[in-house]
C-alpha cells in the first residue's frame, strides 16, 4: 500500500539531487534548474500532506499553487538576469562572476 | 432516432456482446477501453489520410484547378500513393545530429497530439475520459508540442532548423496566452471545465452567439498554434526551407505530418465543442452533427490557408501581444459584467 511515507521519500531524494546540483553546477542556468528541482520536491510534500493528513480541506494544494506562481516569477527574472549577465560579461559560469561591481 | 444510433448505444450493444463471451465484468471493461483506444488511433490515422486528399482538393477548388484526379476514382487514392512513396524513401540522418534527440522528436510530437483525444466528446456519453478539468487538460497537453519542435530544430544541426525551432517557441508561447484567455470566457459561462457540462450548457444557445469575440480570437490563435498559414512561420518555405522538418525524410517526416493533421482535427473538435454546440442538433444522430461541424471548421482552416498571405515574424508577435491579448482580456471583463447583469435581472 502506497502511503504518505513513499511520497515523502521520493520528495526527499529529489530535493537532495537538487541540493547536489545547486552546490556543484558551474553555470547559472544549471543552478537555476536545480533550484526548480528543489521547489518541485517541496510541492510534492505539500500535496502529499494535503492528501493524507487533511484530505477534506485543500490548503496544501493552495500553497502549492502559490509556490508554482513564485517559481514562475523566479524563472522569468532569473532568465532575464542570466541573459543580461551573458550580454555584459560574455559568460554564465558562476565562478567567473565574482565581482560585486565592475 | 438519437437513442438508437448514438455512439453510446453502440458501445452498450458491444459491451453486451462481450459480456456473453467474457465471464469477468472487469475484463469486459478492459476490452472496452482497448476498443476505445483503438478507435481513437483509427480516427487519427484515418483523418490524416482523408485530410491530405481534402487539403489538395480544397486548394484546387480555391485556385480553380481540378487537383489530384489520376489515382483512383476522382483521385481518392492519392493519399495512399503518397504514403507508399514516403515509406519507400531513404532514411537519412544528418551528420553531426544529436542522434537520440533527433529520433525522439517526431515520436514525442505525436504523443500529445494523440493524448488530447481522450477528452473529446464525440457523442452523448461517448467520451473516453470525462475529466473534471477536461478543457484545461487539452490546453496543458497541446502546449507540450513546443518542446519536440525545438528538439527537432536543435538536434538537426542545421541553421534553418534551429531558426524554425526558435520561432516555434516565440509563436506558440505567445499565442497560447490569448487562446487560454478566450477559452476562459466559455468556462465562465458554463461554470465548469468538464467537456460534457460545456456541451450540455449549449443545448439551447451555442456559445458562438454569446462569445463571438472569443470565437474569433480562438480561431486565430488556433491557426497559429497548429502552424498553418498565414501563421506558418515555423516552416515558412520561402524563408527557412522547412524549419525543424528540413532534415527529416520518409516516415520520420510523415510522423510530423500526421501530428500536424491530428492537431488540426483537435483544434477543430475543440472549436466545435466549445463554440458550436458539440453533438447537439436536431434529427440526425449526435456524432453525425459532431463530424459535420468539425468538417466545417476544418474547411474554414483550409480556407484561411489558401486565402491569406504569410505574416512577417515581427507582425506576428505584435499582432499576438498588442491585438489578440487585449481583445481576449476585454472579452473576459465584458463576459463577467454581462453575467452579473443577467443574474441581476433574472
Amino acid at each position: 500500500m502506497i502511503g504518505l511515507v513513499h511520497f515523502l521519500t521520493v520528495a526527499a531524494i529529489v530535493f537532495a539531487i537538487g541540493l547536489y546540483g545547486v552546490l556543484s553546477k558551474r553555470t547559472i542556468v544549471g543552478i537555476l534548474m536545480s533550484i526548480e528541482l528543489m521547489l518541485n520536491a517541496v510541492n510534492i510534500n505539500l500535496i502529499a500532506f494535503s492528501r493524507f493528513i487533511t484530505p477534506e480541506v485543500l490548503t496544501g494544494q493552495i500553497f502549492a499553487i502559490f509556490t508554482i506562481t513564485v517559481a514562475a516569477a523566479e524563472v522569468a527574472v532569473g532568465m532575464a538576469m542570466i541573459f543580461r549577465v551573458y550580454y555584459d560579461r560574455n559568460t554564465v559560469h558562476a565562478a567567473r562572476l565574482d565581482e560585486m561591481r565592475w | 432516432m438519437q437513442e438508437i444510433t448514438g455512439l453510446f448505444k453502440i458501445a452498450e450493444i458491444l459491451r453486451g456482446i462481450l459480456g456473453h463471451f467474457l465471464p469477468d465484468p472487469q475484463l469486459v471493461d478492459i476490452c472496452m477501453s482497448l476498443i476505445n483506444i483503438g478507435a481513437i488511433f483509427t480516427i487519427i490515422s484515418l483523418t490524416a489520410v482523408v485530410l491530405v486528399y481534402t487539403e489538395r482538393k480544397v486548394s484546387a477548388f480555391m485556385q480553380r484547378r481540378s487537383g489530384p484526379n489520376r489515382v483512383g476514382p476522382g483521385g481518392t487514392l492519392q493519399s495512399v500513393a503518397d504514403m507508399i512513396k514516403l515509406m519507400a524513401k531513404e532514411d537519412i540522418m544528418p551528420a553531426g545530429a544529436d542522434k537520440w534527440m533527433w529520433i525522439l522528436a517526431p515520436i514525442l510530437l505525436f504523443i500529445p497530439a494523440a493524448a488530447v483525444f481522450v477528452v473529446f466528446p464525440f457523442d452523448n456519453k461517448a467520451i473516453f475520459a470525462d475529466l473534471n478539468i477536461g478543457i484545461f487538460y487539452f490546453i496543458a497537453m497541446s502546449s507540450q508540442s513546443v518542446l519536440p519542435f525545438l528538439m527537432a530544430g536543435w538536434a538537426s544541426n542545421n541553421k534553418y532548423s534551429l531558426v524554425g525551432g526558435m520561432r516555434t517557441v516565440a509563436q506558440m508561447l505567445s499565442y497560447e496566452v490569448p487562446m487560454v484567455l478566450s477559452i476562459l470566457g466559455i468556462v465562465m459561462l458554463a461554470g465548469s471545465m468538464r467537456m460534457s457540462t460545456i456541451v450540455a450548457a449549449q443545448q439551447h444557445t451555442w456559445f458562438i452567439v454569446l462569445q463571438p469575440i472569443a470565437f474569433v480570437v480562438y480561431v486565430i490563435t488556433a491557426t497559429a498554434e497548429i502552424n498553418r498559414a498565414p501563421f506558418d512561420l515555423v516552416e515558412g518555405e520561402s524563408e527557412i526551407v522547412a524549419g525543424p522538418f528540413t532534415e527529416y525524410t520518409g516516415m520520420r517526416w510523415a510522423l510530423f505530418f500526421l501530428a500536424e493533421y491530428a492537431n488540426l482535427l483537435a483544434v477543430s473538435v475543440i472549436a466545435t465543442t466549445l463554440f458550436l454546440g458539440g453533438w447537439n442538433g436536431p434529427w440526425l444522430p449526435g456524432w453525425v452533427w459532431f463530424f459535420l461541424k468539425v468538417g466545417g471548421m476544418i474547411f474554414l482552416f483550409m480556407w484561411f490557408r489558401w486565402t491569406f498571405p504569410r505574416l512577417r515574424i515581427d507582425q506576428l508577435m505584435s499582432f499576438g501581444w498588442k491585438v489578440l491579448l487585449p481583445l481576449a482580456l476585454l472579452n473576459i471583463i465584458v463576459t463577467g459584467i454581462g453575467m452579473y447583469i443577467y443574474e441581476f435581472f433574472s
Partner: protein, 169 residues
C-alpha cells in the same frame, strides 16, 4: 486490482522523477539537462494525479514545461554549438565528494525523520471536485495572497523585460 495498478503507477512515476532529476544534475550538456527536467516534471505531475490533485498536475505540465522551453532556448543561445559537451559541467574546484556526502547525509537524515514521525492520518472524505473548491478558496479565504501573487507576477514581468532589454540611458 486497483491497488496493484496504483502501486505500479506510483513506482513508475517515482522512478521517472528520480532518474530524470539525477540526469539533470549529471548530464554535461545543458540542452539534455533541460529536456530531462521536462521529463522529471511530467513524472511529478503523474505523482500529483496519484495524489488526486489533477488540477495541479495540469498546472504543473502547462507552466513548468513552458518554462523549460525558455531554458532550452537560453541554453542554445548562450552556448556555442562547436563545444557540444561541457555546457553544464560540474564544478571541479569544490571537492565533489563533500557535496555528494552533504546531499547523501540530507537524504539519510530526512528519511530517518520521516520513518520515526508518528503521522496522524485523517480518514476524512477526499475532495473530488478540486477545481471549484480551489477557486472558492482562492477567491475568498486567500484573496489577499492571490492579489499579492498577481502583483509579484506583474513586478517579475516588468523586471524581466527591463533586465533583458536594458534601459535606454
Amino acid at each position: 486490482m486497483n491497488e496493484l495498478i496504483y502501486t505500479v503507477a506510483f513506482y513508475i512515476f517515482a522512478a521517472i522523477t528520480v532518474a530524470a532529476a539525477f540526469g539533470v544534475v549529471t548530464k554535461s550538456n545543458l540542452v539534455h539537462s533541460a529536456l530531462l527536467l521536462a521529463l522529471c516534471f511530467i513524472g511529478v505531475s503523474g505523482l500529483y494525479v496519484l495524489l488526486q490533485a489533477d488540477f495541479l498536475a495540469a498546472v504543473q505540465i502547462l507552466i513548468y514545461n513552458g518554462a523549460i522551453a525558455i531554458v532550452f532556448v537560453l541554453g542554445t543561445m548562450l552556448t556555442r554549438r562547436s563545444s557540444r559537451h561541457g555546457t553544464n559541467d560540474t564544478e571541479v574546484n569544490i571537492p565533489s565528494r563533500v557535496v555528494t556526502l552533504v546531499s547523501g547525509l540530507f537524504v539519510v537524515v530526512t528519511l530517518g525523520v520521516i520513518a520515526t514521525t508518528p503521522w496522524h492520518y485523517s480518514s476524512g472524505v477526499i475532495v473530488e471536485d478540486t477545481p471549484s473548491l480551489l477557486a472558492q478558496l482562492i477567491l475568498t479565504d486567500y484573496m489577499v495572497v492571490m492579489e499579492a501573487a498577481a502583483v509579484l507576477l506583474l513586478a517579475a514581468m516588468i523586471g524581466a523585460i527591463v533586465l533583458a532589454k536594458g534601459v535606454e540611458e
